[in-house]
Symmetry: C2
Subunit: 141 residues, 2 copies
Amino acid sequence: MVVHQESAERANRLFHALADATRREIVTLTLTGEQSVSQLARRFPMSFAAVQKHVAVLERAGLVTKQRQGREQRVRGNADALREARRLLDQLADVWRGRIDRIDAILTDPDPGPGPGPGNSENSENSGEHAHASDRHQEEP
Amino acid sequence: MVVHQESAERANRLFHALADATRREIVTLTLTGEQSVSQLARRFPMSFAAVQKHVAVLERAGLVTKQRQGREQRVRGNADALREARRLLDQLADVWRGRIDRIDAILTDPDPGPGPGPGNSENSENSGEHAHASDRHQEEP
DNA sequence: CTGATGTACAACCATCGGGTTGTACGTTAG
DNA sequence: CTAACGTACAACCCGATGGTTGTACATCAG
């Protein structure tokens, strides 16, 4: 039960991908217009392979998509992924604004979903306290 | 050259700090209420020192602040830093929307381009020119 | 056909990141 | 005072990252 891994890892990949200036530039460039990998590579002071790796990281994070076209691989930025990242930030901020009661909801599941259906999950134990963080620790030696 | 380093590294630190689930949780926890480091540490399945390091990373990124109080160190989340991160994301998105105004910090694109309707995508292989990227070998033969 | 171009991928290397333990030190509780 | 608590920090693993070079292969230009 440690914070829905899927969404947590998605967020990890997203922010990690954004935590590099080169990659942010690639996103910018490919948002304004498709670019082939070698076109991109020519713009940066590093090897083609290095840029290739950056693109791969961005792709795994969903920030760009690649599409074969002849012998080229066109890279296109994905604005939706940026929105996704923004959403995640907003969620944290919302917690601060007190607009959240189910903290573990945002920590575990990014989908607040429509109605707060009662039959949500089997979780929901410690509502009184917030954030059980990961609620497993304190072992006895 | 290369994208103002100061702000670039700021962004690097911010996103890097956010690229870890434990750290995001710490931000959440400390946004809802101050917590001492050891209080935080008790909530996570890792050593005190590990949590200490996470807090340090968050602090360097400006996402939390520490304040001594007796023998405790109270950690408080900083919502402004989250806003800052959001601003950075919005900048990238704005490029895409063609609302570039201060893109200086992102890329020096002299091509205001035609109607940048959001529904572009099919754009063209814009001449590219100096995206400066990193101001080295970007010459077209 | 041959050659240049664009990709993919493996191997390698140096550094960073996240985690651990251990130690030292100030502060608070008894 | 002494003991427990909260913190800081160093030293140390080890896996992940970011970069390189080198090779292989497909596609496009002549």
